[in-house]
């Protein structure tokens, strides 16, 4: 009992993760020579406070960072790192191809189509850091 209590106290993520729902997550399969790839998903925040997604980790990548897509009027597009994606209270944030995404960088191994990649998302709400564990299909 004491151990369970300890575990609960030490990992606020367990309580907090229930407020965040990840829908339709997937990682893009890319050629084996790729240095990076992207993960897409819809993050649903059911809590009354905004939540930040600050990055994440997975065994196949050196690091995972939030990236936004920039677009100029002449059709030039690019990417830029951001500190975090903010998911509004009782709101959602869509990460999709050609738009915002989580970039899996310094790939040790390029995820193959059909595989499932374990991934941990790092979140922050009201100054409290937490983690969400996901199994993300590759396609």
């Amino acid at each position: 009992m004491k151990r369970i209590l300890c575990a609960l106290l030490l990992s606020p993520g367990l309580i907090f993760a229930g407020d965040l729902k990840i829908e339709g997550a997937w990682i893009r399969a890319l050629p084996p020579s790729s240095k990076s790839t992207a993960a897409f998903m819809t993050i649903v925040n059911r809590s009354d406070a905004p939540v930040l997604i600050t990055g994440g980790s997975c065994p196949a990548a050196g690091e995972i960072k939030p990236m936004i897509t920039t677009k100029q009027e002449d059709g030039v597009m690019g990417m830029a790192f951001v500190e975090s994606f903010s998911v509004p209270a009782k709101g959602r944030r869509v990460l999709e191809p050609g738009g915002d995404h989580l970039m899996l960088m310094k790939l040790k191994e390029v995820p193959k189509a059909g595989a499932t990649v374990p991934m941990v998302l790092t979140t922050e709400s009201g100054g409290v850091k937490s983690h969400i564990h996901l199994d993300v299909p590759v396609r």
Partner: protein
């Protein structure tokens, strides 16, 4: 009785005035409506260019080290876009959509269609293109060349690109901001249709445009 006739005449007059007023208001509205309808009834999904503008006859090198000029692709519809192989989001989205367009074409039309991806990255080589481009479809063509030739080609197609600041400590680890338009070039080598990045998921409609461009070619059936 005369009073009633008078009233009838007045009512008719008012009716006529209302009718005339309606016509005055309605005529321009109808003209606008028809012209808008006329425009939206264009069979082309992308931005169609009815004038003849020959595409720049680039001379670059493909993923097998073979020289390729636009001129060599006469008789084929060409879907041309710019990007780089380290591009993890935009270019795979573009090439993935173009692969879906290609799959929707009947085999005879596939034979007469080339998807061409020009790298604007001086780090790319035929070898890096060979690892990247055929992943989306093994019939796609990746092109590279000396930076000056790439620059001239990009400019000629209205494409621009620039290095984004390096992300980590490694100065070679940078991304490239680049144009995301796709050109559909007709079998005569003319720029025909232009697609914005956001239009590319409409692969069925783009496949229809490709078939139309192939059908326009003199003496050829798609």
């Amino acid at each position: 009785m005369p009073r009633k006739r008078h009233r009838d005449a007045r009512a008719r007059r008012i009716g006529l005035i209302i009718l005339a007023a309606c016509a005055i208001v309605a005529a321009p509205a109808l003209i606008i409506l028809f012209s808008v309808a006329g425009r939206s009834s264009s069979p082309w999904f992308g931005q169609y260019d009815p004038d003849t503008h020959p595409g720049y006859n680039f001379a670059l090198t493909d993923q097998n080290g073979k020289p390729v000029r636009l001129q060599d692709l006469r008789g084929q519809a060409v879907l041309l876009s710019f990007g780089f192989t380290r591009c993890p989001n935009i270019c795979p989205t573009t090439l993935g959509n173009l692969a879906a367009v290609y799959r929707k074409l009947p085999p005879a039309a596939q034979e007469r269609t080339k998807v061409v991806f020009v790298s604007v990255d001086e780090r790319d080589t035929p070898a890096s293109l060979k690892e990247y481009v055929p992943f989306f479809n093994d019939r796609f063509v990746g092109l590279t060349g000396p930076p000056a030739d790439i620059g001239t080609t990009a400019r000629a197609y209205g494409a621009s690109f620039r290095k984004a600041p390096a992300t980590g400590g490694d100065k070679d680890d940078y991304m490239i901001d680049h144009s995301t338009y796709t050109h559909l070039i007709d079998p005569e080598g003319n720029l025909r249709v232009l697609y914005r990045f956001e239009q590319l998921p409409e692969t069925e409609k783009i496949a229809d445009d490709v078939l139309r461009v192939l059908a326009q070619a003199p003496g050829k059936q798609p």
